[in-house]
């Protein structure tokens, strides 16, 4: 268990969180290498199917990063994302997947440091929870 490296799939919106992750890079902030970023134009693009697929295919956590409420580049896509994620967390819990494994964060383009904090924090949290047990693993 000690050498468990959580795999976290991150969906970052192009305008805020992806740019913030770039800023973390240009500022040479260091964080856990466990998140793998997939760029979407808006957090509202994140289909619940993507989240389920990520868990099914081996992710131990899924992180979605969008613009702060009121700041969405597309007016209100992030609110749509929030509704979906809250709903999805409840569904996941029904399936025995801790809701902490799915996380939604508002990270604006200037918050490079928040990317670092969230990436580290979530990696630690998932490391504590341990690997996600999938149906096929316990027959």
């Amino acid at each position: 268990m000690s050498d468990f490296e959580p795999k976290i799939v991150a969906f970052f919106c192009n305008w805020c969180t992806y740019t913030a992750a770039d800023l973390a890079g240009t500022s040479r902030m260091k964080y856990a290498p466990n998140i793998r970023v997939i760029r979407v134009m808006c957090s509202g693009r994140v289909d619940p199917q993507f989240v389920l697929e990520a868990f099914a295919k081996g992710a131990d956590g899924v992180l979605i990063g969008g613009c702060h409420p009121g700041d969405c580049h597309y007016q209100r896509g992030n609110y749509k994302a929030r509704r979906r994620i809250l709903m999805l967390q409840r569904v996941l819990e029904e399936f025995g997947i801790e809701k902490e494994r799915l996380r939604l964060e508002w990270i604006s383009a200037s918050e490079g440091d928040k990317v670092r904090k969230v990436a580290n924090d979530m990696t630690e949290q998932i490391a504590r929870l341990g690997p996600l047990r999938r149906g096929d693993e316990h027959g």
Partner: protein
């Protein structure tokens, strides 16, 4: 799809930026094993000409039809590599970029883990790109008219540049006059030419220019649309004086029932008084009187004799004026909304607002100005001339408690004020500084000049406090500056008659609202965020919106004017091209799959989706679609497809990063 997929993978070293952490050789080697990959290389600088040529040669030689470049952020170089792909004869959208630098080598220290992550990211891109299809870029025409928000020196310079190029410019300024902060300055560093002498001719040019619509006392109330075609609502506040009729003769002000000014004059930083009907300052543009309804008796009681109305032989005064909204269409927008000076009362230890004879630098600009409240005579509250003046640098700058950034102009304007105060009063001048920053043409020389001026002293140290608590007879009745002289190595008490606080520059209080309205971002400290600090310093992340001046960060007048010119040039480049290509990431409905449930219609923030009553399916107007993909994620039948972000492509990417 019958076509054979042939992928070329290019892993960039970026000097040692990527290769220093990530084992680029093994990433390229690993990638060569993936299905469809025909060529996999690593190269020192992919963005260089030889790097791009490499892609083009490989396309020809190996018949490639998909390209993956693993280098820096797509926000920086996606455009570069799409072009290289296109030049090689492959559709630019049959390309995928991997962010190995900003998202991997720059943020991770463990080489092994960083390399493992790089491999996963490249694998995801290789899988994804196989599903890409050739796309056409949409072109939209650019409306040649330009909106400039803010009428300080930045907005003025940009407006004149564009207007001289023959473009119609709407210049919107929220104050009753244009001119901004620069109009309040006395002289400008390092040349000491008078601010008004260089600014006011430009202001009158703005007023007279046939291509400029100057809307002062107005604010942008709403922005809609996108690059090339913005629709803007401008709120025009009532000045209660008819703009067409008023000739700026001042008779109304003369005739006002208040014989003397009674209310703080904003232009003179409250150091003089104005009447309810006033002129912002003698060279104001436009040359129009304005009535302040907060102080005018007629507005407060309705019982004024209205002597101003009687005095105006052009019947220009109109108490019934209402706020109006103008709607305009423009293709590009330049934001030049300026800065706010740091509020010195936030540092009570310096006594601003509690001790008399403590001033901010902007107040001193007015005091030394010959058209200022004292006609340029620098006097203390008791009417005497100061014999010694302390200038405290970095007030609200380079300070953990207030603002951490350097405001860039304060050292230089402090030197200028030191010179002017010495010139006006003959007083001994003490500069209290942390570091002296004079990085500009002729700036160091100006500093040298001040160092040699008699009666000007420099003390290195951050001032602890300004107090009126005297400990010696010499200090009696004066202000005392307590400071650790870090060069001499002891604490000193310097008695002064007058203290000047060199306040820093901050974002304007409404910067966050402006940012939201124009759909742009702010950097951490709250100034507007440029697209790239070096390569796109006047662009924003929103196409067609540009930045000029201190709204982007503290800067002096030369830099502000240079940036305003750059913003105007960027706008011109768009306008003269006539059209702009948009990302083809719009969505469309697969009619066979659509059940006509209406879910998507309510979700679209742009009303781009409608219901086709005949076919009983949803329809997307791609001219209105901005490509957020919210409808795609919501469609219960997976009947909506977003180009470049198709479900299948993203699902491949997910699997790719996880394998």
């Amino acid at each position: 799809m019958s076509e054979e997929i042939r992928v070329g993978v290019y892993v960039c070293h970026c000097g040692s930026n990527i290769a220093g952490i990530i084992d680029v050789k093994s990433v390229a080697e690993e990638a060569s094993k993936y299905p469809n990959v025909v060529v996999s290389r690593e190269y020192k600088y992919m963005c260089s000409d030889p790097g791009q040529a490499l892609i083009q040669e490989d396309i020809k030689q190996h018949n490639l039809n998909r390209i993956v470049v693993a280098s820096c952020s797509p926000l920086l170089h996606e455009h570069t590599f799409r072009n290289a792909t296109e030049k090689g004869g492959v559709n630019p959208f049959l390309f995928q970029m991997v962010n190995l630098r900003e998202h991997d080598s720059w943020v991770h220290e463990d080489k092994e883990k960083a390399t493992k992550k790089a491999i996963a990211l490249v694998r995801a891109a290789v899988r994804r790109v196989a599903l890409h299809s050739a796309l056409e870029r949409k072109e939209v025409p650019i409306n040649p008219d330009v909106l400039i928000v803010g009428g300080g020196i930045a907005g003025i310079h940009a407006a004149l540049t564009l207007a001289n190029a023959g473009k119609l410019v709407y210049l919107v300024e929220k104050e009753p006059t244009i001119g901004g902060h620069m109009a309040k300055f006395d002289k400008t560093f390092p040349t000491l030419d008078c601010a008004a002498c260089i600014l006011t001719p430009k202001m009158t040019q703005v007023r007279a220019h046939p291509n400029i619509r100057l809307w002062s006392y107005s604010e942008v109330a709403g922005v809609d649309g996108f690059v090339g075609n913005f629709r803007v609502k401008v709120k025009r506040k009532p000045r209660y004086v008819d703009e067409e009729a008023c000739i700026g003769c001042l008779a109304c002000i003369e005739a006002c029932i208040y014989k003397e000014g009674k209310f703080p004059d904003e232009f003179n930083m409250g150091l003089s008084k104005r009447k309810p009907i006033y002129f912002p300052f003698p060279q104001a543009v436009p040359q129009l009187a304005v009535i302040d309804p907060e102080t005018c008796i007629e507005f407060k009681t309705g019982k004024c004799k209205k002597t101003c109305v009687a005095a105006c032989d052009r019947n220009a005064i109109d108490f019934t004026q209402k706020e109006t909204i103008e709607e305009i269409s423009v293709g590009t927008i330049i934001l030049a909304t300026g800065f706010k000076a740091f509020d010195a009362s936030r540092m009570p230890e310096y006594g601003y607002g509690t001790l008399s004879n403590v001033y901010t630098a902007l107040e001193i600009e007015r005091l030394v100005n010959s058209s200022g409240p004292t006609a340029g005579e620098v006097v203390l509250k008791n009417g005497q001339h100061p014999k010694s003046v302390g200038i405290i640098h970095c007030v609200g700058s380079r300070d953990e408690k207030t603002n951490k950034w350097c405001s860039r102009v304060c050292c230089m304007y402090s030197l200028k004020l030191a010179h002017l105060l010495r010139e006006h009063t003959g007083a001994e001048i003490y500069n209290f500084y942390i570091d002296m920053r004079a990085p500009g043409k002729g700036y160091e020389e100006f500093y040298d000049r001040l160092l040699q001026e008699d009666g000007t002293h420099f003390i290195r140290g951050r001032v602890a406090e300004v107090t009126d608590w005297a400990m010696t007879e010499e200090e009696e009745g004066r202000l005392v500056i307590r400071v650790e002289d870090t060069l001499a190595g002891f604490v000193r008490r310097i008695p002064c008659d007058m203290v000047v606080l060199s306040v820093g520059l901050e974002p304007t209080p409404d910067a966050q609202d402006v940012r939201r309205m124009f759909n742009i971002s702010c950097s951490t400290e709250g100034f507007f965020l440029e697209r790239h600090p070096k390569l796109a310093p006047v662009n924003t992340f929103t196409d067609g919106i540009f930045l000029a001046g201190t709204c982007q960060g503290p800067k002096d007048i030369p830099d502000t004017v240079a940036q305003a010119g750059a913003a105007a040039a960027e706008a011109l480049a768009l306008i003269d091209r006539g059209s702009i290509e948009l990302e083809p990431n719009t969505a469309y409905v697969v009619e066979d799959k659509c059940s006509g449930c209406h879910t998507c219609i309510a979700l679209c923030p742009y009303n781009a989706i409608s219901y086709d009553e005949e076919k009983k399916v949803a329809q997307i107007n791609e001219a209105l679609c901005k490509g957020c993909g919210t409808c795609v994620a919501a469609c219960p039948s997976s009947a909506i497809v977003q180009r470049l972000f198709e479900d299948a492509e993203i699902l491949e990417e997910i699997e790719g990063v996880l394998l």
